[in-house]
Point group: C2
Chain length 129, copies 2
DNA sequence: TTTCTAATTGCAAACTATTTGCATTTAGAA
DNA sequence: TTCTAAATGCAAATAGTTTGCAATTAGAAA
């Protein structure tokens, strides 16, 4: 958290209350959040501020934008190792995946990959019965 | 095309001009199209009709909805073998991928996967220089 | 072939999610 | 403490998707 605040400061941007709050929410949880989830948890601040804070954090490189298989966009701290998710369509539980295949895809296609989604949705072990 | 028209008829739905046109566009091309691309190619028909036709085809199971890494949703005939795509962010060229890993993900997670996106965006060999 | 009706269409409007302009407020440098 | 560029809150614009409804039409039945 402190390290991330420094990153913001170093970029020339100001440490403001909205930014601190949004960052807090992202730091407190280990699961990716939608803008709306962050907004609802913050209560005080405006949605546009959540939007702009997250956008800034993403540009600064420490928050990642993920396109989930349920078509929702969620955000999480980029500090973890690169990974992907499965989300349960019933209870919303999110599990991380240990694989990715990015470099294999680059080899196969000879593209320079800049963005990818490798996201799954289904029924978790509990909900599938 | 004829086979697909039969599928529509058998489902109890009518063969109409909009449906025929939308199906035509999807049949004519080998690359996934956005609703808007279909709409613009059809000219005569309304966007809502494109929307509802594609939705019907998807429910009947012969058109697939794909969430691309550029956040756009595209549709293509499901007749081909299951596959995924890389799209060039520069020129829009789309290449198909020969891998997927669906069953591996099910094994790893013990989820019953119902939907997934395995889509990439980057620079194609031509555009990357 | 004509008639008839439920299904489908076109249009316009409603949603939902995302993004932006601008007057007011504020972080933090001087 | 003062001052100003940056950031916020609000409200409205934009874009993508979805829906209600009156008018039209496919195709079953006469």
């Amino acid at each position: 958290m402190e390290k991330l605040l420094s990153l913001i400061r170093e970029s020339g941007a100001k440490i403001t209350n909205p930014r601190r709050l949004v960052l807090e929410k992202l730091t407190e949880t280990d699961k990716p959040l939608t803008l709306n989830e962050i907004y609802e948890e913050c209560e005080i601040i405006d949605f546009a501020s959540v939007y702009r804070s997250v956008k800034l954090f993403n540009e600064l490189g420490f928050v990642e934008e993920i396109n989930f298989a349920d078509k929702k966009v969620r955000y999480e701290l980029a500090s973890k190792l690169h990974h992907h998710h499965v989300i349960c369509s019933e209870c919303g539980e999110i599990k991380e995946l240990p694989i990715c295949l990015l470099s294999e895809i680059e080899k196969i296609t000879n593209y320079k990959i800049t963005k990818h989604s490798f996201e799954f949705m289904g029924l978790c072990p509990k909900c599938k019965n």
